[in-house]
């Protein structure tokens, strides 16, 4: 029997229980995602990936996590103590909040907000703050360069992201993810991703850039900036950044699933399963892309955003407004 979050009457109880569930969900999925990423990378590169710890290497992420926790937390000389340690926490905390308005299932929406989308966009925008703090606080030139890159990147990609989301919100007439999901049907032709493929495409590209994933992983570009903003972090400091990256991947995939792929709706299977299937399909695409492409250069990244995605998103928005206006 699926637990029904809606049965808790008081919204505060619901919030606390929801947050706890979200933490568990993020931790578990982060571990699974690390395993999936390494396994996919391995198979793409004609090698088996993690193999020896547990069946099919399933326990490898847990062993890695234990290793990270057990490591010494080092801080470079001359670093700003408070900013340096605040950064990883700040990277992880806002992402978990983003899970709250996500409707996993009709019965499993931790918090129904009529401005759920705004909340998600606002808190995922906070993530970049942690990158700045990490880069600035660690007194490292590579870190500083990575931080500077992340700001420009995040500013550039938030604009088309917002515009593409707005196109969907306009069509649905709501900012509540639950509401937007229910407006779509169970079948693909009822999904906004099929009705408005341009917005879906722009959202996907921006989502990859927002989560700093390859080919847009410039703030941590390994071969250029050694490791960018987290160059100096060791142990769980690095682990939290790592977890935050995967958590924000899950968030954007969840938002994409709810906005464009009909959320939990689908034939035959229970809603939560459909939702997870859709989320993991998008995650797999992101992983697949990472292991295929080279990294773009910084000015090309910005050009792509300002010269292609933003105008296209604007055109899309205008079209949607016209269609919505005529359609009544």
């Amino acid at each position: 029997m699926t637990p029904d979050l809606m049965s808790f009457d008081h919204p505060l109880t619901r919030l606390v229980v929801g947050l706890l569930c979200v933490f568990a969900f993020v931790g578990l999925n982060g571990l699974v995602l690390v395993w999936v990423e390494r396994k996919v990378a391995g198979h793409v590169q004609l090698r088996p990936g993690p193999l020896h710890v547990g069946p099919y290497g399933l326990l490898q992420p847990i062993v890695d996590a234990v290793k990270l926790i057990g490591k010494q937390l080092a801080m470079p000389a001359g670093a700003d103590k408070y900013l340096y340690w605040a950064a990883p926490l700040l990277a992880f905390a806002p992402v978990t909040v983003c899970f709250l308005p996500l409707p996993f299932d009709p019965a499993l929406a931790p918090m129904r907000l009529n401005t759920g989308l705004v909340l998600i966009l606002a808190f995922s925008g906070l993530g970049v703050l942690s990158l700045i703090l990490a880069g600035w606080g660690s007194n490292n030139k590579w870190g500083l360069l990575g931080a500077a890159r992340s700001v420009a990147q995040s500013v550039a990609y938030e604009v088309p992201l917002l515009l593409s989301v707005m196109a969907v919100a306009l069509t649905a007439g709501s900012l509540d993810l639950y509401e937007i999901t229910t407006q779509q049907g169970a079948w693909p032709w009822q999904w906004y991703g099929v009705k408005n493929p341009l917005a879906f495409f722009i959202f996907l590209v921006c989502a990859v850039a927002e989560t700093n994933r390859a080919p847009f992983d410039l703030p941590e570009a390994e071969s250029e900036l050694t490791a960018g903003f987290h160059t100096e972090y060791s142990g769980m400091g690095f682990g939290l950044f790592f977890l935050a990256e995967y958590a924000s991947m899950i968030v954007v995939s969840g938002v994409a699933a709810a906005l464009f792929l009909g959320g939990w709706q689908g034939p035959f299977l229970p809603g939560i399963l459909w939702f997870l299937v859709k989320v993991y399909a998008i995650l797999l695409l992101m992983i697949w892309m990472r292991w295929t492409y080279p990294r773009v250069r910084f000015d090309q990244l910005l050009n792509l955003s300002w010269k292609w995605l933003t105008p296209l998103a604007l055109i899309d928005l205008v079209l949607v407004v016209i269609v919505a206006g005529f359609g009544g």
Binding site: A41, V44, Q45, L46, R47, A77, G78, K141, W142, L145, A148, R149, A214, P215, D217, A221, E222, S223, E224, L225, T226, R290, W291, T292, Y293, P294, R295, V296, R297, F298, D299, Q300
Partner: protein
């Protein structure tokens, strides 16, 4: 921690050309000697304005192993294994350059079969070097998968070379007057099989990487160098051929049996990183065709001329130049009649190719500098010797 003091930095002999940075609002960044994309222990001092490079200065010498001095301290035979360690990626060409110069000095004739074997193994080695460069360059540009595909193919090649030489990387296969031991019987067949395999893989390489729009964006128009500049710095090999000059030691100063083979010399006039990339990709095909010709026309006979057990060449000096994967390799040996060379001079192509970098990198973005550095195909142990 020592406080940052511009004065001491200016007095630092390694950065003597750098004026105090922070006062000019510039960032001085030491890229390397431990950096993922300097391929070993190269250090590059960068003066950055934002992410734009104002000045770049390579600092060498972190793997200086005194190979030239060792050449004077060891007998002719004893110095031979050093050649595999100078440039570990194209060890055969270095083997050949040294063996060739000593043969020239001592007047040793190399039997024909040995020459054919030398050609075949050197070209095989060139392919393995280019494949590794290809993978490593894409690693620099942030693509992680191609290097695995390249290594998959390279494995077949290393198996062939292991069957011939017994080792997989630092070959010490050549000896004065020929080669160390004969090739196994199935060598021609395995070579032809490998050539077939590589040719079937090249379209995949092209689709996955060469045609990729992101890679083109990272390479086209980056690090443009005209022939004049390349010649001024003494750049050779694919770096020079990428600037439009079809100069190849195998053609320009024919040695061994290369004049008997028919092969094109790829060159591209653009002079950017993409041109250098394309030259190397075309050279894979060129080497394939040379290998085919060499193994299918390989004559019988002895594999090595009789060389004395202790070599004492007459007084004099000799040079021998071969075309390595990175450019013109030249070994100059001078003998005073004793059992040890009086002087051995190794001309490493990577050294000249690297020196262009300071000029190319000026005014580019940090990411472009990485792309340029990779496109020069540097092997640091060879540069430092």
């Amino acid at each position: 921690m020592q406080a940052f003091d511009p004065k001491t930095l200016a007095q630092d002999p390694t950065s003597v050309r750098f004026e105090p940075g922070p006062t000019e609002d510039k960032l001085i960044l030491s890229m390397g000697p431990q950096h993922p994309s300097t391929h070993g222990v190269l250090r590059i001092l960068l003066e950055l304005d934002g992410e734009y490079i104002v000045r770049a200065e390579p600092v060498l010498g972190y793997v200086h192993r005194m190979h030239e001095w060792m050449g004077q301290e060891k007998t002719y035979f004893q110095f031979m294994p050093n050649m595999g360690r100078v440039d570990y990626l194209h060890a055969m060409a270095w083997n050949w350059a040294y063996a060739g110069s000593v043969e020239r000095l001592a007047g040793i004739e190399v039997p024909e079969r040995a020459e054919y074997i030398r050609v075949a193994v050197t070209e095989l080695n060139r392919i393995s070097s280019h494949l590794l460069w290809w993978g490593a360059y894409l690693l620099d540009l942030g693509a992680f998968t191609p290097i695995m595909y390249a290594f998959d193919d390279r494995e077949f090649l290393l198996d062939i070379l292991q069957a011939v030489t017994g080792s997989r990387l630092t070959y010490s296969y050549f000896t004065f007057g020929g080669v160390y031991n004969d090739v196994p019987e199935d060598f021609p067949k395995r070579c032809l099989d490998f050539v077939k395999l590589l040719r079937s893989r090249l379209p995949m390489y092209r689709d996955l990487v060469t045609d990729n729009v992101i890679l083109r964006g990272r390479c086209e128009g980056i690090g443009e160098m005209d022939v004049e500049l390349a010649r001024r710095y003494g750049a050779t090999g694919p770096v020079l051929r990428g600037s439009g000059a079809a100069v190849d030691t195998r053609r320009a100063e024919p040695y061994s049996v290369y004049p008997r083979f028919d092969f094109p010399i790829p060159s591209y006039p653009q002079g950017d990183a993409m041109a250098r990339y394309m030259v190397r990709m075309d050279e894979l095909e060129t080497s394939c065709s040379i290998i085919e010709q060499a193994v299918s026309t390989m004559p019988g006979g002895p594999i090595a001329a009789k060389a004395p057990k202790t070599l004492k060449p007459p007084k004099g000096e000799a040079c021998y130049a071969v075309e390595g994967a990175r450019g013109k390799i030249l070994v100059h040996v001078r003998s005073d009649g004793g059992p040890k060379p009086y002087r051995v001079k190794l001309r490493a192509p990577g050294f000249s190719n690297l020196s262009v970098f300071a000029e190319l990198a000026r005014g580019t973005l940090l990411a472009d500098a990485v792309s340029i550095l990779g496109s020069l195909d540097l092997v640091i142990p060879e540069i430092d010797r």
